[in-house]
Subunit: 365 residues, 2 copies
């Protein structure tokens, strides 16, 4: 299992440059590093000095770089889908469609890139994966996917099982499954092997993202007001997907560091403007990326006091909405909805109070 | 029907600023304008001077601004889904799930934003919609969605109908549909009213995006090499989703205009560095946004000569892949796959030759 590191910040603040410097530093220190670049365009290649390809290639000793191309990843994943179908379906039909034909729909990039990182992580070939993603809300949606997708799974499974629709369909499930499937199928369509395998992967993804020693993000900003505001917003929004933010990097810093107080209590690293192609001063100015576990965690549950604390920096009370429509409580902030899966002692209990204090939303049951 | 305008370019080149200036110019000239901002963070508000909300609000006379928030749009769309289900399903079950609970998965942003623009367009309240989107590959995926989704629809419909799986399922479709649906259902599951309505919307979207008088993009760059390379890449990639690029805007221009030749034959507008809060010089330097119909079109079909020409600027021969695996030909470039739907005279015919000339891929049948 690798340590996975990514960067959040406004476009143009130098995310790719910092990602390359971070990857170089880990490699210099003897770690086996993969730098995974999501951007399909030529800009990262200009900074790297080589054109990255769809397979990892060595940049310097210990450091490989790969460009995660959605078209290539989709073709590979399609082959996996066909294997699954050949295994489970009596009369495969996806086999008639070729991976080389498939266009990329919105959302596929994120699912494919997340899956590729999962596979590189599981390969055991890397100690560190530096993910140079889109760096904004899209990266948060991607990292939030395991948690949100498992919510959809859980919620709709229950609604379907309890529904008249589920009951209306159940007489047909057995005859259809024996006509179509190789394997025996229970009445619970969410409980068959393919669904379970998918669900296990989602659970593993959730656990990895919730563990700051496994996955952490750092904010990158310049001294520009828009860049600072965006970094602060992404800091809060990251908490909503359970992602720990370990620190802030102020790139091209010339001023007095007044922006530091915006990001209390995160450690701040200031990187002066440096000449191109001289990586060492940049590498030396980077923070220690192992400190993320000391940063505030997105969620803390205190069962004894019947309290849940959510860290939501940068938002005020009016920007956070707490609802309890469904079986779980939902926190809306930063154009994200976070359904909070509670331990059994608190699950299903009504909320008795909520207050917003020092960037924490504290919910009582 | 409104004229829809969007901007593509690397992060940090000033896309939002240019979008606001463009919207202001149209409004000054008496057009009813909607400026639709996709970014959820606070940065656009800093430039606008007001915090945009989820409902259009007036910025200056004739100009309204809206922030397209995925959580809000998802809640609204969910109500529509429930209405459809109430209409078609005998025993609705989505009604048990509340829009306020739903998290945002990757891809939903794009689908929801595209749908919101479609609705604002159809409302008849606006002459011009300026869409300030993510401005990169994600915006292209979004605008490519109608064409790619209708390809998936068409392709899988045929595969399913021809397959043993389709035949194995067909005895069950009638009994299930009468148990579950309010309406009678044919054996073709792709041919029922909900699917047809979705398909019609996709067709309308495809037609709008293919018409440069309805939808056009402009490239924004600075004189930075990375920004120029990214703009050029997005120019080529835009062709792959059928989007016409009308011109180039070089922001914060100080140099001699050497970058112009990279973008031949597009018209170039150079915008000098201007002081904040003085919109007029910026507005005056903008191009005439009605020229997009004179720009090279993504695709031209010549039935008499049995030739199809694809405009693919910025790519060389090695970066473009042409395949004919399925019933249509597929062009891969710019991390996009474009399945070319041909007129009946050429459809299904084998490709006899292909050459790359002056940024055009010319395919002969």
């Amino acid at each position: 299992m690798a340590q996975i590191l990514t960067f959040l910040g406004k476009g143009g603040v130098g995310r790719t440059t910092i990602a390359i410097a971070a990857a170089r530093r880990f490699a210099n220190r003897g770690k086996r590093v993969l730098l995974a670049i999501q951007e399909a365009g030529p800009a990262p290649g200009l900074i790297l000095g080589i054109v990255p390809g769809a397979e990892p290639q060595e940049l310097i000793p210990n450091l490989k770089v790969v460009q995660l191309q959605a078209t290539v990843l989709l073709e590979r994943s399609w082959e996996e889908v066909k294997k699954l179908e050949a295994q489970y379906l009596r009369t495969p039909f996806f086999k008639e469609v070729f991976g080389q034909e498939l266009g990329v729909l919105p959302g596929m990039d994120s699912a494919l890139v997340l899956n590729a990182i999962r596979e590189y992580d599981a390969s055991g070939q890397y100690d560190v994966i530096v993910f140079d993603g889109v760096g904004d809300q899209a990266t948060l949606r991607m990292l939030g996917m395991p948690e949100i997708a498992s919510w959809y799974f859980r919620r709709f499974r229950k609604v379907f099982a309890d529904s008249d629709l589920g009951k209306a369909l159940s007489p047909f499930i057995q005859p259809i499954s024996s006509a179509v499937l190789n394997v025996s199928w229970t009445e619970d369509i969410f409980n068959q092997p393919m669904a379970q395998q998918a669900n296990n992967q989602l659970e593993q993804g959730k656990q990895a993202i919730a563990d700051p020693n496994r996955v952490a993000a750092y904010l990158i900003t310049t001294e520009d007001a828009g860049a600072i505001a965006t970094a602060k917003y992404l800091w809060g929004a990251a908490q909503q997907v359970g992602l720990t933010v370990g620190g802030v990097i102020v790139n091209r810093a010339t001023g007095d560091g007044a922006e530091s107080e915006e990001f209390e209590p995160l450690p701040i690293s200031r990187i002066p403007i440096q000449s191109i192609n001289d990586w060492q001063p940049l590498i030396d100015a980077l923070p220690d990326f192992d400190q993320a576990s000391q940063a505030p965690r997105p969620i803390a549950v205190n069962v004894a006091e019947r309290k849940v604390s959510l860290f939501l920096p940068g938002f005020d009370k009016k920007q956070v909405k707490l609802t309890q429509y469904g079986p779980e409580i939902t926190v809306e902030a930063g154009d994200q909805r976070h359904n909070i899966s509670l331990p059994s002692e608190l699950s299903g209990k009504p909320v008795t109070g909520a207050k917003f204090q020092d960037s924490f939303l504290i919910i009582s049951f």
